[in-house]
Amino acid sequence: MTVHSTSPQFKQNAARALNDHQLQKALGNVKQGFIDKRQMAADKLPEFEALRDAARDIKNHTLEHLDLYLESYEEKVKASGGHVHFARDAAEAREIILGICRETNAKTVTKGKSMISEEIGINHHLEANGITPVETDLGEYIIQLRNELPSHIIAPAVHLNATQVEEDFRRVHTHLDAKRDLSEPVQLLTEARAVLRERFLAADVGVTGANFLVAETGTSIIVTNEGNGDLTQILPKTHIVLASIEKLVPTLEDVSQLLRVLARSATGQEMSVYTTFSTGPRRSTDADGPENYHVVLIDNGRSSMLGTAFEEMLRCIRCGACMNHCPVYHAVGGHAYGWVYPGPMGAVLTPSLIGVDKAGHLPNASTFCGRCESVCPVRIPLPKLMRHWREREFERHLTPATVRSGLQLWGFFAKRPGLYRFATRAAMGALSFAGRQRGRFTWLPMAKGWTKYRDFPAPQGETFQQRWKRERSGRAA
């Protein structure tokens, strides 16, 4: 485990989130913006569904040949003058990054938004070793000031309202006039731009993630709207790319297919503002750019997912559409999930990375409404994979005892139709009799979770099979 996880306390996290009025207000923004924009972008491109198929196929093909594409990629990076490092796990990755920073006597490190850097917990490690990491994506900068994890993979500060950001800026930017007006979001943006511009220009090392790595050319790709990732990687002397091994794609054509679905699925844009293809360090013909270019390829559990049902999860391109469309995410936000990756993709990926014994709630906390799968640009069957986790929990006896014994009792009757009919007839008769007056129950001993929030409708009395037998059996049998 790398970053501390509160996933085992999912239920408590969720209850707290549901009562957090600031959070509930902020979550309204997720429900409104992303969904309509994605739909409009998809509707405007007749080939969108075909592109989703193509995107899925490209990722599947790459994963099936991952060893060979990695070799090709590594060779190309070296040929372009860059360095490739391999890290088995988070700890190895942190040491490699720290080592590169020390080689260059780095004091400050600017960072582009990167989920893998959250996964390996690099910021705390750098701080502990006297190096200052500065998040430069506006959302990441805000949550760094608050010492929080991102609550969304593309909108890290989506759980916050502008007034909360204002408070943080006033608390931290003490060199600025205390009486300045920060009542408008644009004023907050302008202030962050000015503060971070100085940080960009002073940084010794820039660390970015990678949306994709191209085997054909040894290229790393970042996709941003702010331009912070580019300032992170072209201004300092050293650029470090952090990427998990499944980011690979074969060719520039393949990556173009994936880019056509990425922004549309994420923000509903035709294309994000900045898509940057970086290959090696500054050339003799360049006037700017980093002198050193390092890529840290991180496994951290991915290679063991290959060849299993969860290989499909490695197609994920981190667009965030699944969480944007998830009713559970809408209700509780990202922090309730308790680790780096929230929403449906987190519910599948987190158990793979930190263990289903710790993250067991996540694949269970889904209604299986299927909306995530219906919008996934690489067609990951997220509900099916969550169900696979539930099966593993069941096999390993991690399913709660009450659920297990309830299922056993119900299964016992359901496998014995005669007994089932007899028992249900008796039970429904009694339940109907008890609830007849009002037509519903406000409290039932067996379903307290249900009746905490809603009534339980009373049954009509006779079962269908009872009545059918009475009215029709002579005729139909």
Binding site: P327, V403, A458, F464
Partner: protein
């Protein structure tokens, strides 16, 4: 979804009604509404002895029990031209998930595939397979319709109920905001994660109420019980019914969660 060409379809297809646990136990009138709709459309309907499709076990990770129940159901419904359920969720279980339960057993896989191929959700069966374009029912007033998730996303049930509702005399359909968003039921989810489920159904209840329609319909009893329970808990007098009851003109029974004696209304 495949529709059998009319030439290949018998004039009076034998339909096995998979009534589903919830309808069987909680609201048999939905089953009889389904029978009426199917018989009106020329089907010969039978309801063999049955229990459950196994979905609760399946979604709880208990594949063994699920397979046992699936095998019983496959055998019980072998002899029919079609199998029809008044539920997108249970029909979806058979159609979309039974085959993968038997990936390593070609014999049962073939049987599961055969069953999956002839199983339909009630309303889409009427429209897509039987070509029903209108029903003879009347219903006075405005209704709003909730798209239950499995029917919508696993089986493509969306326009079919709207098409038939449009033919009901006196009925107007008022669409709610986010009709295609989950109501928060999710089977055991509603009990296991009741806080979250409660929050999701609260949003659904709000969207229903905003339409000002006095009646809400859907095609799955689980969702209906969830929405009815929430609306009655909040003291809202919105009536909740299965869409089949309205399409069959069988609305004599009190709405879901409403008192039996009409005087109390």
């Amino acid at each position: 979804m495949s529709a059998t060409p009319s030439s290949a379809r018998p004039a009076h297809p034998r339909v096995g009604l998979f009534v589903t646990c919830l309808v069987d136990l909680m609201r048999p009138s939905v089953g009889f509404a389904a029978v009426k709709l199917l018989e009106d459309a020329g089907c010969v309907v039978d309801a063999p002895v049955q229990t459950c499709c196994g979905q609760p076990a399946y979604n709880s990770g208990d594949r063994g029990t699920t397979r046992d129940l699936a095998m019983r159901l496959i055998e019980a419904f072998q002899g029919y031209d079609y199998v029809v359920a008044p539920s997108g969720s249970c029909a979806g279980m058979i159609k979309a998930h039974y085959p993968e339960l038997f990936e390593e057993d070609p014999n049962w896989r073939a049987k599961a595939d055969a069953l999956a191929g002839k199983t339909y959700e009630l309303i889409s069966f009427l429209v897509d397979v039987l070509g029903v374009t209108k029903v003879g029912a009347a219903f006075d007033g405005a209704v709003t319709y909730h798209d239950s998730c499995s029917g919508l996303r696993e089986l493509g049930v969306k326009r079919q109920p709207r098409k038939l509702l449009a033919s009901v005399e006196g009925l107007t359909l008022v669409e709610m905001k986010d009709s295609d968003v989950c109501c928060g039921f999710g089977g055991t989810f509603a009990v296991k994660y009741s806080d979250i489920s409660g929050a999701i159904v609260e949003a659904k209840a709000k969207n229903i109420e905003e339409t000002q329609a006095p009646t809400v319909l859907a095609g799955d009893l689980g969702c209906l019980m969830n929405m009815a329970g929430k609306l009655s808990r909040d003291g809202r007098s919105i009536q909740v019914r299965h869409v089949a009851e309205v399409l069959a003109g069988m609305t004599d029974e009190p709405p879901i969660g409403a008192a039996k004696a009409k005087a109390i209304k």
